[in-house]
């Protein structure tokens, strides 16, 4: 059941009157004649409006505006510059403004309290009044943070409003999600916000492949040239509930953090499936993978160490031995040699299997941030993310199967969300079929694993994957292809296109999909002191509050008494 609460009954008239509906259709949206007292410049794309029909309230979004004139003569002979009177007289009468509205949800006026908004199946009649949405309307649709169930997490406020827009975290965790936007539009902040929501409300345990070391401990905030400031990372906000794993412990320590675990990967942990997606990065040709399978057929998991131990001239001999094409194997060998340069690649593990440790943490509900330190090459990121995700995937499949078999609540796996950056490298049409991430995006919902895809080039992602994304949080995108891609699999997107292209380059995002009842443009929540306090970060609380919270935590841990 949808728990979004309606206020029910007849409600007081809303605030500002924006205009009246003059024409439109269900398919193409509605047109409103703007009230002459309103300034067209206040009508921003993405703004909320409520159309008061006779039986329903229609919650709508402003998608487009147009200037119009009743008489073409006026346009041929516009009023003189100093003829203020004529301009004022014409405005709203002979020259008027039309605002396109896209109704997103409707709510019967006599709806019962527990009834939520419904999809739009009707349109309001001629001259229905359009009003500015009020806080109560927004709360009615998007819920309010701090509800009893702890479902709703505020991501920001609607345009020109002070109220919260909340995302339903339960629904958010259910599906794979995407965070898109051009570089520098605040993707990392949005991602950090979403992760905070997931962790704070314990809706999913997270595994974050943190390519640029932005999520674990403090990160730099872009201030537009006015010095630099730092924001808190997840570890600082959630303490024990977040563990930092590092592929490059030296870099992590240099930034003043002690990693919880230093990740090393042995050659034996790399499967041929992990090499296949690296075709682009390593410039492998298709036959190389086949050769790798040949080696694997004989040496099983030792295939890579065996291959890399060989010296240049021996490879051809080896090829003849196993019946592989010599040239192809030589090329494969030469290219895989690059892996030896990675400091985290070891021939034997000394500290235990990193993936097992990650699973152990995740099982305990501790979120894992895997930092790459200085190992920021795409090759490294792809390789490591693939190896780890593949293993985790296998384990989750097993866990889920066990749960299906026993059906005991304690066997139910925790919902896991894997955050990947530069997602188009994993999920492009070629790679999506080979990497484990393609599989996760397509079908892992059944196995309690979903993805949080962070990307600046959504057009590079496979359509099949895109269409399975539940919730999209999108900052500004300019490229027509990217916009098209983000809107793949969303119905009624005509109007959203203009909204998406007209977002501010900072702190604005469009949220569409499974976790929100209707698409909404938000001004993103300030990620700062206030936010830390609201999440209950100890450093930011006063003495009194801190003591109270510690007492509460102690009670939660050890029970009353």
């Amino acid at each position: 059941m949808d728990s979004r609460k309606g206020t029910g009954g007849k409600k007081a008239r809303r605030g500002r009157r924006l205009g009246v509906i003059t024409r439109g259709s269900l398919v193409e949206g509605l047109e409103m004649k703007l009230d002459p007292s309103q300034n067209i410049e206040d009508m921003k794309a993405g703004k909320f409006a409520v159309i008061e029909g006779e039986k329903n309230d229609f919650f709508s979004m402003v998608t487009d505006m147009r200037l119009d004139a009743a008489n073409p003569e006026i346009l041929l002979h516009p009023p003189a510059l100093d003829d203020e009177l004529l301009r004022q007289v014409l405005s709203g009468t002979s020259t008027y403004n039309i605002v396109s509205l896209r109704p997103m949800l409707m709510l019967p006026k006599d709806a019962a309290v527990e009834e939520g908004p419904r999809p739009v199946k009707a349109i309001p009649s001629h001259f229905s009044l359009v009003q500015e949405a009020e806080e109560e309307d927004v709360a009615r649709i998007f819920g309010r943070e701090g509800d009893e169930e702890g479902r709703f997490f505020s991501l920001g406020t609607p345009l020109d409003m002070e109220t919260q827009v909340c995302v339903d975290m339960v629904r958010f965790a259910e599906r794979s999600n995407g965070i898109f936007g051009k570089t520098g539009t605040g993707k990392s902040f949005l991602t950090r916000l979403a992760l905070c929501g997931l962790i704070h409300f314990e809706r999913a345990v997270n595994l974050i492949f943190d390519m640029h070391n932005e999520y674990g401990f403090r990160a730099m905030k872009e201030t537009g040239g006015r010095g630099t400031s730092f924001v808190k990372g997840l570890k600082q906000l959630f303490g024990e509930r977040v563990a930092i794993f590092s592929l490059d412990p030296r870099s992590t320590r240099a930034r003043g953090i002690q990693p919880d675990f230093e990740v090393a990967i042995s050659y034996d942990q790399i499967a041929v499936e992990d090499i296949a997606p690296l075709q682009d990065e390593l410039k492998l040709n298709p036959t190389a993978v086949e050769s790798a399978y040949l080696v694997y057929a004989i040496y099983k998991e030792k295939w890579l160490s065996t291959l890399l131990k060989l010296d240049g001239p021996d490879v051809e001999e080896f090829a003849a031995e196993i019946g592989a094409h010599a040239g192809s194997l030589v090329a494969l060998h030469r290219k895989l040699k690059r892996l030896e340069n990675f400091p985290f690649m070891v021939s034997r593990l000394t500290e235990g299997d990193a993936v097992d440790r990650i699973m152990e943490y995740l099982d305990r509900g501790i979120n894992v941030v895997l930092e790459f330190g200085q190992q920021t090459s795409m090759l490294c990121y792809l390789l490591v993310a693939n190896i780890i995700a593949r293993r985790i995937h296998e384990m989750y499949v097993k866990k889920s199967e066990r749960y299906y078999a026993t059906q005991r609540p304690e066997d139910q796996p925790r919902q896991l969300m894997i955050t990947i950056e530069e997602a188009h490298k994993f999920l492009n049409p070629v790679a999506a079929k080979q990497t484990i991430f393609g599989t996760i995006a397509r079908e892992m919902r059944k196995y309690y694993v979903s993805l949080l895809i962070v990307d600046q080039r959504p057009s590079g992602i496979d359509d099949e994957v895109l269409s399975q994304i539940g919730t999209r949080i999108t900052a500004l995108l300019n490229d027509e292809k990217d916009i098209q891609a983000v809107l793949t699999g969303v119905s009624g997107t005509e109007g959203l296109r203009s909204v998406l292209a007209s977002l501010d380059s900072k702190q604005q995002a469009l949220v569409i999909g499974h976790a929100v009842p209707m698409p909404v443009v938000i001004k993103t929540r300030e990620y700062g002191t206030q936010f830390y306090r609201e999440l209950g970060c100890l450093d930011e609380l006063g003495e009194e509050e801190r003591r109270a919270k510690v007492q509460k935590d102690i009670k939660a841990l050890f029970g009353e008494g």
Binding site: A70, E73, I74, D83, L85, L86, V89, L90, T93
Partner: protein, 220 residues
Amino acid sequence: MSKTQEYLRRRPLGRFLADDAAVLPVAPAARPAHVGEVVESSTTELIAEACQLHGAPPFGRFVRVEFEAPIIAIVYNVFTHSIEPNRRPTAYGKTEAELRLEQPQIFELLRTEFQALVVGYRDEYGPAPILPPQPARIHSFVYLCEDEEVAEFTQSDEYLRSILGAAKVPTDELLVATLRHALRARGGEGAYLVEMGKELSRLLRDDYDRLSSILRRIAR
């Protein structure tokens, strides 16, 4: 009968003597003097004779005819002619002052009349922009409307429609003059002019040329 009229009865020629006019007793503030008397009346318009020669209310001015339900009308035509229909005044080649000294009687043979367009009436509920049930009675007095009365009556835009709908009136000119009076009665409030301009634009069916010309002339 007002004091002015009594005075005029005692001194029939008094109103033609310029310096004498200055000593005309001032009408009491509570009851301003009437400016004319109805001599011809129909539902849609009326003709009144001005109390003084050349003393008709200005073109476009709101006037009120005293009646049970006072009738509101707008002056749209003023004319001065000979009392005798068959005798036209002749040109003398002298200034008015000279003529007043030499032949004062000729002014006695002239009179000023004005035509007013009936646009509504007042009843106990306030101003009604509707034609009155009965036309004004002959010999009723015509008064100038006070500013408050004008402001009250011009609150709605219906008088513009009445003007536009009337035949035989110089429509655009009358609109300009009337709106100027209405505007003055409100102390020149710009917002009112914008509001009426919008209504006018609608009433003129977006005739942009006409609208801009009218507005230009009002704002002059």
